[in-house]
Symmetry: C2
Subunit: 456 residues, 2 copies
C-alpha cells in the first residue's frame, strides 16, 4: 500500500490538470443543445479509463451513454468480492451565467479550490476513485477485490436510462455493494458516512387563463390573472408553522428516533454561521426540527422556478395568458413519489379555481434511501474514512437525492456506501461551484484504503 | 365637404399602403435595442406630414423625439379655434413571437383586417386623423379651425418626456381641446365617446433570500423559498370576493352613480360571448359589479409578470435566490398613484416575512380621468360620430390608461375628447394585433366631420 499512497501524493498536480480537462466538457444533461458535449465527455472518460489500465467502453442508451470501466479480472478470482463505483459525468445547468466569477466551463484555481460547474458534483468525486485505481494499476499493486465503474450521464435529469441498463446487465453488474461519492461532509475534520438520503418527486403546475396575453387596462378586473391564481394556490401548501397541509402528504413518514436526533446533534452546527453562509436574513423551516433535521430528514415542497407574463426590461401591461411553477418535493423514508404526486395533484385540483385550467406535468421521482450504519461494510468504510482523513467520522443523513440508490438495492440487491467528498460551501447546483483540492487528495486515499478494508 | 369625403373614399387603397409602411417600424419604446427604430419612425412620420402639407418636425427630448405637425396658419385667424390631435408612434413589445400567425412587423391583410404590432394601438388611429387633414389640404377645402398634431414615442413607457415638453411649449400648444383616438368601441355599430379612463401605478416587488441559488436537496427545508414567500405575499392582496384588502387602497374612489351604471348597461354585452372571446373557462372579478364595470370603473392589482429560479427546459433542483413580480394597479377617479403605491408598499412591508429582503421599485403612474359628456365639445363629437358611423353613439368608461390626458388638463387647461377606433378583438398589447380597415375609413370621416362640428 505504501507505493499506492506514494504514487497518489506524487501525482497530485497532474491529477488536477486531468480534472480541469474533465470539467471543461459542457455536459449539461437538461439542455438538448448539449447532447454532443455529453458524447464528447463520455468518449474522453473512456479513453482516460483505458489509459489508466481499465477495460472501458461507452455503452449507448436511449439517452446519454453510460461509461463502464472494469479492473482487469484474474481467472482465479471467483471468490473475490466485487464492488461497483457509481458516479455521473453530467452536470447541472450553469445559468445564471452573470453570477459566476469565472466562466463555469473554464476551470480556475483560487486558493486550494478548483472552480467549475461539475467540479464537486460529480466529476471531482468520481475522478478521485479512478485515481486510486490508477495508483494500484500503475504501481503493480494487487487490488484485493474486483471493481466496476459505472459513470452515467443522466443523473441530473432523473437517471432515466440507468434502471433499464441495470436490469439488462444484472449478471454482469452483480456486486457486493455500491460505493458512491456524491454527498457532502461537514468539513475536512468531519469525514462522514451517509446512511440516509431524501427522495424526490418533480412536477410542473401550469395554469392557463385567457387564450392570449390581454391588455390589463381593457380587460383587467373582469378576468382571472393566472399568475395571481397560481400564487394563491401555492400559498395554500404550507401552514403558519411551515408544515405542508396537503392531506396524506406525510403518510408513512418514518419518524426520527432519539438515537438519530442525538447522532445528528454530534455534527457541528452554528446557527448564525449557517445563516450567514446561506446569505439569508433569517432561517426558515418546519417548526419543531433543527435546521439539519429540516434539510435532511423532513420532506419539502419547493418552488424551483416561477414563470408568467413579461420577463423583459420595463413594464408590459398585460394579464398573462398562463403561469407556471416548477416544483420538487424532497421525500423521506416511507414516502413513495407516485403516491405523493397523487396526493399533491388531488390537493391542487381541489383548490384550483374554475377560472383557469390546470395542467400538472409529472417529472422524475425517486424514493428516499436508508441503510444500517452497523453492517460490516459500513464499519469497513468508517475505518477507511478515519485512516484517510485522520479524524473520527460522523454519521449523516443527506438531504439530496441519488435516485438510483434504490435501483441498486431493488435490481442488484446491493446496499450503497455513501462516502461523499463535497464541502457545504462547494456551491453544487449554484453559480461558482468548486471542489477542494485537499479533499480531492483525501478522497483518492480513502478510495485506495477502502478496497483493503472492504476485502477484509 | 363633399370633395373632402370623396377624396377620402377614393384614396383608401393608398392609405392602407401607407399604414403598412408605418407599422413596419419596430418602434418598441420599452426595449433599448429599438432606440434607432424610434428615430427612423419619427423621421418617416415627419416626412409624411410634410408631404400632406403640414408644417412638421421631430423635436428631440431626453427620450424619443416628439413629432409636431401643424396645419398652415392664416394671419387673420386669431379667433379661430385650435385643437390638438394627440397620438403615439411607439408600440408595445411584440413578445411572445411564436404566438403571432404572421410576424408582428410584417403587416398582413386577412379579410378586412390589417395585422401588425401597432396597427390599432396607435398607428392606425393617428394616421386616420392625418388622412382627414390631407383630404382638406389636397382638395383645397378650408379647415374651419387650426390643428396641431402631437405624436409622441413614449406612451407605452409612461410618456416620460411629454409633460416637460408641454410645460416648455405651453404657449405654442395652448388649445381649446385635445382629440385622442386611442380607446375602443364595442363594435362598428356602437361608435363611442369615452368620458372616463382608468389611471395606473406600476411597480415591481423583488424578494431576496439566499445569496445564490441553493441545492434544494442539501439546503431545502431549512431556508425560505423566495418564490413561495412571494406567492404567499401576493395571495394576501385579494379577499374571497375579489376585493383588494390593502388598507386605504379604495380611499377617495368616486362611486359609480345610478346614471353611469344605466349608461354602461346600454352597451351591448353577452357574458358567454365575452368569456369565449377571452378564452377563459369562467369570468372572474370583484363581486357586485358587472364585467364592464369591473374592467373600466374599478381599480385592480394585476400581476404582469412573475420571474424566479429556473426558466429553461427540464428541471433544476434549486431554492431560487430571488423572486420578482411585475405589478400594475389600474386606478379610478379619486385615486392618486403615489398614495396608492404608498399604501401598497406599507401593506407589503407589514406582510413580508423577515426571512427575505424586499425591494419595491416604483414605475410609472398616472391618475384616472373623467370629463362631462354634456359639454358643447362633447356634444359636437357625438354629432360627428353619428354622422360618420351612421349609428347612435354610446358613452363609455375605458379601463385602459392614457397617462397624459391629465397633463393636458393640468398644463394646458384642456379637456380631452376620446374618440377611439379600436375594436374589442383588436388584440392591443397581445399577439396578432390588428386594425379594422373599415373602421380606419370611418375614422378618417369622423375626423373630417369633427372639425366642422367643433368649429361650430
Amino acid at each position: 500500500m505504501d507505493s499506492v499512497l506514494k504514487y497518489l501524493s506524487s501525482n497530485q498536480s497532474r491529477f488536477v490538470d486531468e480534472l480541469c480537462t474533465y470539467v471543461r466538457f459542457r455536459s449539461v444533461s437538461a439542455q438538448p443543445q448539449h447532447r454532443p458535449d455529453m458524447q464528447s465527455c463520455a468518449d474522453w472518460l473512456v479513453k482516460h479509463c483505458r489509459d489508466i489500465g481499465l477495460q472501458a467502453e461507452a455503452r449507448p442508451t436511449d439517452g446519454n451513454p453510460i461509461v463502464i470501466a472494469k479492473t482487469p479480472r484474474k481467472k482465479s478470482s471467483a471468490k473475490r468480492r466485487h464492488f461497483m463505483v457509481y458516479g455521473h459525468y453530467d452536470v447541472q445547468p450553469p445559468e445564471p451565467f452573470d453570477l459566476w466569477k469565472t466562466p463555469p466551463f473554464q476551470p480556475t484555481i483560487r486558493g486550494r479550490s478548483l472552480f467549475a460547474r461539475g467540479a464537486s458534483d460529480n466529476k471531482g468525486q468520481n475522478l478521485a476513485h479512478l485515481k486510486a485505481v490508477e495508483a494500484y494499476l500503475k504501481t503493480g499493486t494487487a487490488l484485493p477485490c474486483d471493481l466496476t465503474f459505472v459513470i452515467e450521464g443522466e443523473e441530473e435529469v432523473g437517471s432515466k436510462s440507468l434502471a433499464g441498463f441495470l436490469q439488462k446487465h444484472r449478471a454482469e453488474l452483480a456486486c457486493d455493494a455500491v460505493v458512491i461519492s456524491d454527498t457532502g461532509i461537514p468539513s475536512q475534520k468531519n469525514p462522514a458516512l451517509t446512511y440516509a438520503l431524501r427522495g424526490i418527486a418533480a412536477f410542473e403546475i401550469i395554469l392557463r387563463g385567457p387564450s392570449r396575453d390581454l391588455h390589463s387596462g381593457i380587460f383587467g378586473g373582469s378576468v382571472e390573472n393566472p399568475a395571481m391564481a397560481l400564487s394563491r394556490l401555492l400559498a395554500k401548501v404550507h401552514d403558519a408553522k411551515g408544515r405542508i397541509v396537503i392531506p396524506h402528504f406525510y403518510d408513512g413518514v418514518v419518524p426520527l428516533t432519539k438515537y438519530e436526533r442525538k447522532q445528528m446533534g454530534r455534527v457541528p452546527f452554528n446557527r448564525n454561521a449557517y445563516r450567514k453562509f446561506l446569505g439569508v436574513p433569517e432561517l426558515h423551516g418546519e417548526r419543531g426540527f433543527t435546521p439539519d433535521e429540516q434539510r435532511s430528514a423532513r420532506p419539502t415542497f419547493e418552488i424551483n422556478g416561477l414563470t408568467s407574463g413579461y420577463q423583459g426590461d420595463g413594464s408590459k401591461t398585460i394579464v398573462p395568458s398562463w403561469a407556471r411553477a416548477k416544483i420538487t418535493s424532497r421525500l423521506v423514508p416511507g414516502q413513495q413519489p407516485a403516491k405523493v404526486i397523487k396526493h399533491i395533484q388531488a390537493f391542487l385540483k381541489k383548490n384550483c379555481p374554475d377560472t383557469v385550467e390546470m395542467e400538472i406535468k409529472s417529472g422524475h421521482g425517486a424514493e428516499a434511501y436508508m441503510v444500517s450504519p452497523t453492517s460490516d461494510d459500513a464499519q469497513a468504510a468508517l475505518r477507511a474514512l478515519k485512516k484517510a482523513f485522520g479524524h473520527e467520522p460522523v454519521l449523516l443523513r443527506e438531504g439530496g437525492s441519488i435516485p438510483i440508490v434504490n435501483q441498486f438495492k431493488k435490481i442488484l440487491g446491493a446496499d450503497t456506501l455513501l462516502l461523499g467528498l463535497a464541502l457545504p460551501d462547494d456551491n453544487a447546483h449554484s453559480p461558482n461551484e468548486k471542489f477542494d483540492l485537499d479533499i480531492f487528495a483525501h478522497g483518492q486515499k480513502l478510495s485506495a484504503l477502502l478496497w483493503q478494508e472492504l476485502a477484509g
